[in-house]
Symmetry: C2
Amino acid sequence: MRALTVTPGIAGSGTLRDVPTPERSPGEVLVRTLAVGICGTDREILEGHYGASIAGHEHLILGHESLGEVIDAPEHGELKPGDLVVGIVRHPDPVPCEACAQGEWDMCRNGRYTEHGIKELDGFCAEYFRMDPHFLVKLDPGLRDAGVLTEPASVVAKAWDHIERIGQRTSSWRPRKVLVTGAGPIGLLASLLARQRNCELHVYDRDQGDAKRRLVSELCGQYHNDSLEAACALGADVIIECTGAAVVMAHVIGNNAPGAIVCLAGLSSGSHRIPYDFARLNRDLVLENDVIFGSVNANRRHYQLAAAALASADRQWLLRLISRRVPLADWHTALEHHPDDIKVVIDFLK
Amino acid sequence: MRALTVTPGIAGSGTLRDVPTPERSPGEVLVRTLAVGICGTDREILEGHYGASIAGHEHLILGHESLGEVIDAPEHGELKPGDLVVGIVRHPDPVPCEACAQGEWDMCRNGRYTEHGIKELDGFCAEYFRMDPHFLVKLDPGLRDAGVLTEPASVVAKAWDHIERIGQRTSSWRPRKVLVTGAGPIGLLASLLARQRNCELHVYDRDQGDAKRRLVSELCGQYHNDSLEAACALGADVIIECTGAAVVMAHVIGNNAPGAIVCLAGLSSGSHRIPYDFARLNRDLVLENDVIFGSVNANRRHYQLAAAALASADRQWLLRLISRRVPLADWHTALEHHPDDIKVVIDFLK
C-alpha cells in the first residue's frame, strides 16, 4: 500500500513509499483510511525539526489526524465493518506513569508516551492501518468527511473540559464571555464549543480575509482583526489562546476579567524575550483570582466529547473548515500556504 | 474604649483614640478583643498607601487578624458567651455579584466588597467589636492565643482548597512534592497544610536566621536559603509562592514538574520589568499541562477549614510563629522589623 513517510530529523525526506499492507489480526481492527488532516506538527516533522520513528526503523509513516472506515473488527466488539472511526494519537508506555495508568495519557508525567505519526509509532497517512479497538473512537455516521476534524476537536474538547473543571473551584462560576485568539482550525473549533455552551463569543485573528470572519459570524460570534488590546478590553472571563505567539500570550494573561481562566492551547516555537512587568501581572492574578493553564493532547474521554460535539454541530459549517482536499499523490501541495487556508486534508478517495 | 485608628491616605496618622464602646444589640454578637495580628497590609494603610474608612467617617479602626471572646450573643444561636471567635474580614455588598450572592465573596467580581480594618468597615484593633454571627467563626477552645493565626490560615486554606479543586481536572492527581517560597506567616502556614496532606515539603527563603529553619524542620520539611534555582530544580508539583517578589514569581512559574500547579499567594507592589522568554514559558505550560493561579482572601468555608487545620496542629509550633506580643499602648513597636520576626501580635490582655 502507499504511505507518506519521512526520515525523522532529515528535512525534505517526506516521500510516498510502498509499505506492506497490515494483515487482519485477531483482537485488532483493520481500518481503511479515508482522509488525513495536515497540521503544523506535520510540517515540523517534514522540515526535520521533530518526530521519531519506531526503534530500529528508518522511516516514520506521517499523519495523526485520521478518518477511516472499519474493514475488519473482532467479533462481539463495539466496532463493526463500515463504522466510521478515528485513531487516538497518543498511547501510554507499557510501564505507565500514574496518569497514563488511569487512561490520562494526555497528562503523562514521565514523557514516555508514544504518538502515531509523531513519536515512535507509525501514523495514519497510509491506505490502511491496524489498531487496538481501545484506541479507536467511533463517529456518528452522519458526520462523514467532517469526521477528519475529530483529532483537532479532541484537543479543544480537553481544553474546555479543563476550563470547566478548573471553574469548579467556585460554585458560582459559569463561562460567559469567551475570547479565542487565533482563528485556525483549533481556534475555530474552540469557538464552536464556546457557542455550544451558549457563551458570548469573540475571536481575534490578524487575518483580513473573509473566510474566517464568515465562519465566526456563522457561530454568532464577533470577529476582531484590528487590535488585540481592544479585544482583550472586552473583559472575557475565558480566553483560549490558540496562536502560540509569545506577544499574544503575554498580553492575554494580564488583560482579562476578574476570575478569568486563560487556556493556552497554541504552541510557541523558538525563543522570544519580552520585557514584562511581573509585579503588575502578580497583582492581576492574585487580586482577581485568575488562572492560566496549558493544555496539550487528549485522552479517550476527550475524543468521545469531541465526537459528540462534532455530531451536534452544523455539518456544513464543519466542512467549511476544510479549505482544500488533495489526493495522496499530490500530498506536497497540502503543505503549501494558500490564502484562506484553514484545514487542508489528504483525501484518500480522490 | 481604646482603638487603633488611622486616617486613610495620610501617612503617620495611626493613633490610639477613645471611641464609643459598641452596645449589645439584638441579633448581633458582642466580642471582647484578645489579640490582633499585624501584617503588611496594616503597614501599607499606616503609611497612607491603602485603606478606606466608612463613608462619612474620617477615621478607620485598623486590624483584620482578630481573636476575641464572646461577651454577649443572641439566644439559641451557635455562639455562647466565653466562646473563642475570629471575625471574617470581607463582607459582600448589599447588592452582591454572582459570587458574593453564593457566599464566595473571596471571588467577588465587581470589587464592591468591604473589609474590616481595610476597606469601608472598621477593624478589630479595639477593645470590643460587634458582629453579625454569620461573620464570626468559632474556634476550638484549646487553641487559645494561637487562634489569632486563623485569618492568615484562612488565606492559606483557600489557596489549598483551590489547588486541590484545580487538581481534580485529572483523576490521577494528588499533591506530592510541595515547594513554598517565602517563610513568613503565610508561607509557614501553607507549609503546615502541606504536611497535613502528607506532602514532601521544601521551603525557600533568603533568611539566614535559625527561627524559620527550625519551624520548617519541625514540620519535617527542608529549608533552602541558598539558591532558588536549586529549590526549583527539585521538581515540585505544587508551588505556593508567598514572597510576592516578581523575580521569584517569574522563576517558579517556568521551573517545576509536569502537571505542576503554581499558586500565587504573595502580593507584589510597584512595578518590576523583567526580560522574559514567553515562548519557552508557553512550551513549559502547554506541553506539561501546568497551571498558574492567583488566590486572595477567604470565605466562611475557608475560615472553617483554617480553624480545623489549626486545631489539629501542634499548638506549641503555632505559638512559635508569634515572635512578639506587644500591649496595645505600644502598638507602634509592633511595626518595627526585628530579626527573627514572623508574626507580631497586639495583645489586649497585656
